[in-house]
């Protein structure tokens, strides 16, 4: 089923035609060890391409050092890419300037992990949520006030608390404030970076449900970044798995769970406990040898070969497997993806 014409430099095609976001060959390197003999770089993101359909949720999972958060920040232009392009509604963001860039930026927002660190403690909740409107010069004082109160209501916050400060709210409510701030500009695309991982278990479901409701109500498109595959599985239509700066697999979320085609995905899925003692008695985690290598000096060939349970040499250590279509809509970057189901 391999389509050889599709190389690594091409974006991952999707089945539909309503592409909202296209990420093409994104590379992000951070210099480390400045000084005379500096010049080493962290390969945080190293050639990533995919598309996000309007209205879908694309989940992006990976462990620490995978580059998932960096990628999210590059996509919303919080940090510049070293190379590569991001297209939103067909417009290349890196080529837009001034008013045109502002107009596109208005339509893409970000929700952060830490509802404590991402809200200015000296501003009232109303000012925090209304700030993007003022920054973009949208509406006078009264209009901003009305918009803020409405979006607070939508996000499950009491609009009467508009003059309170972030510390007066619980973690879950603070995350609602962060969501309200992202939503107030009526974006089409939201990047959510670990939005629930700092919250108590009983609060996580509230935020997950809120994100689902908002998506239905406002036809939002999400890039949902998390290390927790359980919540990514729950929220996402498709899932991309990252390892050391690369996407190793991208598929519909049900399929990635039932039929992973990359050994890293399979190991990752096998590592996740489920709240069911009977299932747990059956589950046999695939324990990976060693540790995730340094992104300063990633392994040659397939970056996973140093830990891969099915790597064959020399090919896996020498030749980097391209991310290619294995079955319809299911992409994987592995020389031996046909053997993944058997091990």
């Amino acid at each position: 089923m391999k389509t050889t014409a599709e190389s690594l430099t091409q974006p991952v095609p999707t089945t539909g035609e309503s592409v909202l976001v296209r990420v093409q060959d994104i590379v992000k390197h951070f210099p480390v060890g400045a000084g005379l003999f500096g010049g080493q770089v962290v390969h945080a993101v190293d050639g990533v391409s995919f598309e996000i359909q309007a209205g879908e949720t694309l989940g992006l999972v990976g462990e620490s050092g995978s580059g998932k958060s960096t990628l999210g920040r590059v996509i919303v232009q919080l940090i510049p890419a070293t190379s590569g392009s991001v297209f939103v509604e067909g417009k290349e963001l890196t080529k837009l300037h001034g008013e045109k860039l502002r107009r596109v930026r208005q339509r893409m927002q970000m929700i952060f992990q830490d509802p404590y660190g991402s809200l200015n403690p000296r501003m009232t909740v109303g000012d925090i949520i209304g700030e993007p409107l003022r920054n973009f010069g949208l509406g006078g004082r009264r209009a901003v006030e009305r918009a803020v109160q409405e979006v607070m209501r939508i996000c499950g916050l009491n609009p009467n608390f508009v003059n309170r400060y972030p510390h007066e709210f619980s973690g879950g409510q603070r995350q609602r404030i962060g969501i309200a701030r992202a939503l107030v500009l009526r974006p089409t695309f939201i990047v959510a970076d670990e939005p629930i991982s700092a919250l108590d278990v009983s609060i996580q479901a509230q935020i997950v449900n809120l994100l689902e409701d908002l998506q239905a109500q406002f036809h939002l498109t999400y890039l949902f970044i998390a290390h927790d595959l359980s919540v990514v599985r729950h929220l996402s239509d498709r899932i991309a798995v990252m390892y050391l700066g690369k996407i190793v697999e991208l598929a519909p979320s049900r399929e990635i769970y039932t039929k992973p085609l990359h050994p890293y995905t399979k190991a990752l899925l096998s590592s996740i406990p489920v709240p069911d003692p009977d299932r747990e008695a059956q589950r046999r985690p695939i324990l990976l040898k060693g540790e995730i290598p340094s992104p300063v000096n990633p392994p040659t060939g397939c970056r996973f070969h140093t830990r891969c349970p099915i790597a064959k040499f020399p090919i896996c250590a020498e030749e980097e497997p391209p991310l290619e279509v294995k079955t319809s809509g299911h992409w994987a970057a592995c020389h031996f993806s046909d053997r993944v189901s058997a091990f």
């Binding site: 479901a205 590592s271 003692p277 540790e291």
Partner: protein, 312 residues
Amino acid sequence: MVKAVDGVSFEVAEGETVGIVGESGSGKSVTALSLLRLVPEPGRVVDGRVMFRSADVLKMDHEELREFRGSDVAMIFQDPMSSMNPVLRVGFQIEEAMDAHQRFSHKQAKERIVPMLETVRIPAAAQRAKDYPHQFSGGMRQRAMIAMGLSNEPSLIIADEPTTALDVTVQASIIELLRDLNRERGMAVILITHNLAVVASLCTRVIVMYAGRIVESGPTRQIFKNPQHPYTWSLLRSLPRVDELQHDRLLNIRGLPPDMTNLPAGCKFHPRCRFRVERCFREEPPLEDVDPGQQARCWVLMRNALKDEDHG
């Protein structure tokens, strides 16, 4: 005065694996610290008993307590870096743990360093023993910490969120390690966690805490299949599962985790409970047997709540 933990009683058998589950403010960590008389100042255990075999921990003198903490029990924390000395080599710290107690001679202690690191599956153990803690990754540091705890052959491991800061693949290997230590060495494990899935994986018995109280306890399988407390029942339905085959909306548990400085009257969970009855507002239910080996602290119980729902 805040009562972080209020009237908690439980037993752990030799070689048993028990999970204590709760959210922030549930009192699960304070419970664990109380077992070792490690509650930080100005906190203190104002009442109750902690028995280890036939000894009363709360009545031990300084020396007995030191020996108990160091060689009968191993405590493992979420952040191993804070429990290791950054300027001493890992091997030396393991040796020190043995030298501080009576079980092994100095010579034996020296000889045990590398085997201990091998027990926790640290590769190239002889070399790694010479490294400093910062040269270890998070997962390896957690293993080194377990090695230190195990060095005096304790009969109980208390692990407080041992995998919370770790990546999932690393988390899996630490859980497997704890499982093997329990099976192969017969060590009892008390696992303190917010993660019900990890409990399902490792523990044969579970204690669910809320607002400083045990609200439900029993055999893990029974609790997960047939929870009788609405908090347990709701938590299990609020979790996304990686093995879900259809998309069910997660159950919302309304409200917030309890504020321990301002607890409600009656059942502490009633403000968030969807099955509460009038009595729950006024009277706190006792922890009572609901099934063989299973206790719950609820006036309603899920078997009655669900029956009522079925009938309309």
